[in-house]
Amino acid sequence: MPKCTINGKEVEVKEGTTIIKAMVDAGERIAHYCWHDGLSVAGVCRLCMVEIEGNPRVQIACNTTITEGMKINNTSEKVKEAVKWGLDFHLINHPLDCPICDQAGECGLQDQYMEYGKYDPEMAEPKQKKKKVVDLGPTVVLDSERCILCSRCVRFTEEVSKTNELGIFNRGDRSEIGTHDGMPLDNKYSLNTVDICPVGALTSKDFRFRQRVWYLKDAETVCNGCATGCNVKVYYNKEGFFRVKPVYNENVNGYWMCDEGRDIYKFVNRETRLLKAQVRSNSGWSEMPAGAAAKHAHELLKTTSGDSLALVLTAQYTVEEFDAIVSTFVNEFKTKKIYFWINNKETFDNFDGILLRGDKNPNTKGLLKVLEKHGITATWNDLSQGLASGAIKTVVVAGPENQAVFPDFHERVKELSKAQNLIWLQAGKNEALMSLTGNVWLIPMKTFVEKDGTFINHAGLEQKFKKVTTVVSEALTLTEAALLMSGKNLAIPTAQPFLPLNQRPDQVELEARKKNEFVFRRGSL
C-alpha cells in the first residue's frame, strides 16, 4: 500500500491506483473531462495536470500510477497555468451556446472556467463550424460544435454497452462524433452517454429544453422499474418530476442505469395520478377524499367474513407496507386469501447481462418474504376459482404504480370485476377502472418517491430510501390504507418544525454532492 503526499496531505492508496483516483477519493479538486472511473483511461483532454516532485514537466494524473513516496501537488502556478491553457484550447472553437444549451448550470466547461479560467480570450479567428442538432437515434441528439472530443461516449459504447455505435470521424479540428452508416445509437443504455458527456453535446430528447437545471432539486432514491433496484437521483420542483439519473453503487448498478428506468418519473407526476378517491355505488360515481373512502370501505369490510375476502398484491410497494397490510388481513380480517399478481411469468428470469432484468417489479423478494412470514400459500388459481364460483365477494387490490409493465392489466381488471365489491388501491389513473360496474372504491395511493421504505432487489439486498417530496398529498400509503380499512385512526406524527438545518431529514446532502462531478450549483432558488 504505497504512501504518497497530495497537496501536503499524506494519503495511503491501494497498489496500482492512479493519481487522479486517489485525488478524487481524498476529496481534492482536480480538473478533468475525459477520465471516468467506470471507463478506460484515454488521457486526451490534458487537463488533469499535476506536478510530481522530480519531474521537470507537468504530468497527467489519469495515467500515472502512484509509487511509494510520490509528492504530488496541483496548486502551484505552473499547474494552474497549464490547466488554464488546456481550458483555453478547449474553448477557442466552442460555440456561444450557453443560452440554448441544456447543460448550462451543470457544464464542465462552465465549472472549470469559473475555477481555473477567468481570462480574456484571445481567439479572434472564425470558429470551426460543424453539424448541429444531429439526430443520433431515438433518444439522443448531438451537437458537434459543442463536443470537446473527450471520447467518453465512444468508450462507453465500446466497453459498457458493448454495442460500438459511436466513433470519432475525421481528424484534427474537423473531428466529430458520429454513428456509422445506418446504425443509430439505439441500445438500452444510450441515455448514460448524456449523463457522462461533460458538455451539452449529447442531450436527451426526453428532457431537452423542458427545464433549467438550477430550478431543480435532487434527491436520491431507488428505481422501481425492475428487480435490479439501481440507485437513482430524481430531479424535481413544484411543477413535478423531470428526469432521473443514476447514482454510483458498487454492489447494485455501478455507475449506470438503463433507459427504461429513465421513464419512472412519468407515472409520479400529477397528470397521471388519481387525485381523489372515486366510489361507485348504485347511484353512480361520487368523489370523496382518500381517507374518507378508506373509512367507507371499512364499513363494508367489518361485516365481511374472512372466507369471502381476498387481497391481491403487486410487488411494487415497500416491505413495510406489505407487512402492514398482510398482517391486517391475516389478523384482523382473518383471511389467508392473499394473492401475488405476477405480471410476466415467462420473462421473469431474463437478464441481459448488464442491468436489465425481466422482473419489472422492484420488490418481488420483499413481497415473497412477507408472504412467507405470514404463511400464505394461496395461488392465483384459487382466486380465479373463487371469483368464478362467487365464493369470493370482496376483493382488495393494491394495484401497480408502474402500469406500463403490466400488459395483462385490462384482462385482470375484467377478471377481478367479477367480485361484488372491489376496493382498488392505486396511484395512477386508468380508464379501465373508471368503466367498472358494481361497487367499486378507487383510492389514490402514494408513489415510491413520496414515502420512506425498503425494497429488496433480486439478489436479496435490502435498500432503504427516503421520501423525496409529496405530489398528491391526499393519497394514502398502503400502511395508512390498511389502518383506516381496519377501523383504526391514523397516528398523527409529532411535529418537528424547528430542527436545525443539518438535522432535517429532507435537506439535500451538500457534502456528498460536492464529490459528484459537474453537479449544478444550486443558487438561492
Binding site: 490534458r46 484550447f89 479567428e125 472530443l149 470519432i168
Partner: protein, 430 residues
C-alpha cells in the same frame, strides 16, 4: 571531409535492386555470419557502435533493443517506412534502389531481438517503392532467405509490407502500431512503451529504414569500424536529403559531424546564381530553423545542432535563399500540421488549427500586431503537454520562425504584403 558511401556504395547500379545484383556485391554474406552469432552478441555490438535512430528521434538503438523483456514472449519488429516528415526522401531511395539492404538488415535485427514476424509500414503514396519491395520480398522468399528455417539455421522470420493511407501521424511509433492493428491511426498513451506492450500488446521494436539497414554494416565490420566515421556521441554515417534552393538537391551520405555549410556548398553545389543563403531547416520541418550565421557554425550531428537550438531529426536539409518569404513558408508548415493532427488531445488539435488560422489571417492581410506575440504564446503552451510529439513538431517551427525573422512578420502585418517578394498572398499563389 567528403561523402562516405557506406550504405549507398552501389546505388548507382540498376541491378543492385535485384537479388542477384545485390548478392554479387557481397549481399547476404553478413546474414550468414550473423546467423552463426549469438543474438545477444549482435545486440551488444549495436550498443557498442553507438547507432542512433535515423528516423528523427535519435534514440540509441542498442538501448531500445535492451528494453525488451528477456522472456520467450513473441515479439514484433516493425520497420517505419512512413517517411512523413516533410523534406525527407532518403528511405524512398533505399527502397527503390536497394530493397534487399533493408530486408537483410531486418532479418539480422529480428534474429538479434528474437522476433519471428516483421512488418514494413510504407506510406501509401510510395507506389513504386512498394512494388520494388514486394518484388524483393518474393525473391527473398524464393531463395529461402525468409520464411521458415532461414538458410538452415532454424530461425523463422516472416516479413510483410503494409501500406499506409495518407497520415503523417502514422509515422509516430504508437500511431503506426494502432494503424497496423486496424484501429484509427492514433498514438497511444506511453507508458506502457512499445518495447513492453506494443503491437497486439506484445513487445514491439519500431525502427527506421536506415537504422535497420545500418545494422548489417555494424555486424559486418564491427562496432569499432562503424565508429571510425562520425563523432564520439553521434557515430556512423547518415543519409541527408538536401532540397530547396540549391543547385544539386538529392540524397547524400556523409559521416555525422560533417559541416552543414559544406554539405550545402560542396555536395549541394551551392546557391543558385546571384542568391545568398538565408535560412536552413536542418532536420525536417519539425526542426527549428537556422539563420545563415548559425549555419556557418553548425555540424551535422545531434549535439552540435541541439546546441544551436535545433535538431538533427530525420536529416532533411531544406535550404532557403533570400528570395524566400518566411511568412509564406511558415504558412505552408502550419497548414501541414493542422491538416495532419490526429485530433485526440486538445492542445494539438485546437492549437494547430489556431496557428494555421492566424497565419492565414496574416497572409491574407488581416493580421494584427498582437497576433505575432499570440503565435509565440500558443506555441509555447502547446509544447510538452500532449500524447505524442506532433504538437511539439508544430510548435517549434512557429517559435523559431517568428523569433528569428520577426521583422518579416511585422512588415507583413503592417503592409499586408511580403517584405521579400513585395506581393500579396493571392498574387504569390494565384
Amino acid at each position: 571531409m567528403a561523402e562516405v558511401k557506406l550504405l549507398t556504395e552501389f546505388y548507382h547500379l540498376p541491378e543492385y535492386q535485384t537479388l542477384a545484383g545485390y548478392k554479387a556485391k557481397g549481399g547476404y554474406e553478413t546474414l550468414v555470419k550473423a546467423l552463426k552469432m549469438q543474438p545477444q552478441a549482435i545486440i551488444d555490438e549495436v550498443k557498442a557502435s553507438g547507432l542512433r535512430g535515423r528516423g528523427g528521434a535519435g534514440f540509441p538503438t542498442g538501448m531500445k533493443w535492451g528494453f525488451l523483456p528477456k522472456n520467450n514472449e513473441p515479439r514484433f519488429l516493425l520497420c517505419n517506412a512512413d517517411e512523413g516528415e516533410p523534406g525527407t526522401f532518403k528511405d524512398r531511395m533505399m527502397m527503390e534502389r536497394a530493397p534487399h539492404q533493408l530486408i537483410e538488415g531486418m532479418i539480422i535485427s529480428a534474429f538479434a531481438i528474437g522476433s519471428n514476424k516483421g512488418y514494413i509500414y510504407v506510406r501509401g503514396e510510395y507506389v513504386y517503392p512498394i512494388e520494388c519491395l514486394k518484388k524483393a520480398l518474393k525473391e527473398a522468399y524464393d531463395a529461402g532467405l525468409l520464411g521458415k528455417n532461414i538458410l538452415g539455421s532454424g530461425f523463422d522470420f516472416d516479413l510483410d509490407v503494409y501500406r499506409g493511407a495518407g497520415a503523417y501521424i502514422c509515422g509516430e511509433e504508437t500511431g503506426m502500431i494502432s494503424s497496423l492493428e486496424g484501429l484509427k491511426g492514433q498514438p497511444k498513451l506511453k507508458p506502457p512503451f512499445p518495447a513492453v506492450q506494443g503491437y497486439l500488446r506484445k513487445p514491439t521494436i519500431v525502427n527506421n529504414v536506415e537504422t535497420l539497414a545500418a545494422v548489417t554494416y555494424i555486424v559486418r565490420d564491427g562496432a569499432q569500424a562503424y565508429r571510425k566515421n562520425g563523432t564520439e556521441k553521434s557515430a556512423g554515417t547518415k543519409l541527408f536529403s538536401l532540397s530547396g534552393n540549391v543547385m544539386k538537391p538529392g540524397n547524400y551520405e556523409v559521416p555525422l559531424g560533417y559541416p552543414l555549410m559544406d554539405l550545402i556548398m560542396k555536395e549541394g553545389g551551392g546557391m543558385k546564381p546571384g542568391r545568398r543563403l538565408k535560412a536552413v531547416i536542418p532536420g525536417g520541418s519539425s526542426a527549428p530553423v537556422l539563420t545563415a550565421e548559425e549555419v556557418a557554425k553548425a555540424n551535422l550531428d545531434y549535439e552540435s545542432l541541439a546546441g544551436l537550438g535545433s535538431m538533427l531529426g530525420s536529416g532533411a536539409v531544406i535550404v532557403m535563399d533570400d528570395s524566400q518569404c518566411m511568412v509564406d513558408m511558415l504558412g505552408v508548415l502550419t497548414h501541414f500540421y493542422a491538416h495532419e493532427s490526429c485530433g485526440q488531445c486538445t492542445p494539438c488539435r485546437e492549437g494547430t488549427g489556431w496557428l494555421d488560422k492566424i497565419l492565414h489571417s496574416i497572409l491574407e492581410g488581416r493580421g494584427r500586431l498582437q497576433d505575432i506575440d499570440l503565435l509565440i504564446k500558443i506555441a509555447d503552451n502547446m509544447k510538452g503537454k500532449t500524447i505524442c510529439a506532433l504538437s511539439d513538431a508544430a510548435a517549434l517551427p512557429v517559435l523559431s520562425f517568428v523569433t528569428k525573422f520577426r521583422d518579416e512578420f511585422e512588415f507583413y502585418v503592417r503592409e499586408g504584403r511580403s517584405k521579400v517578394k513585395g506581393t500579396t498572398y493571392a498574387e504569390m499563389h494565384h
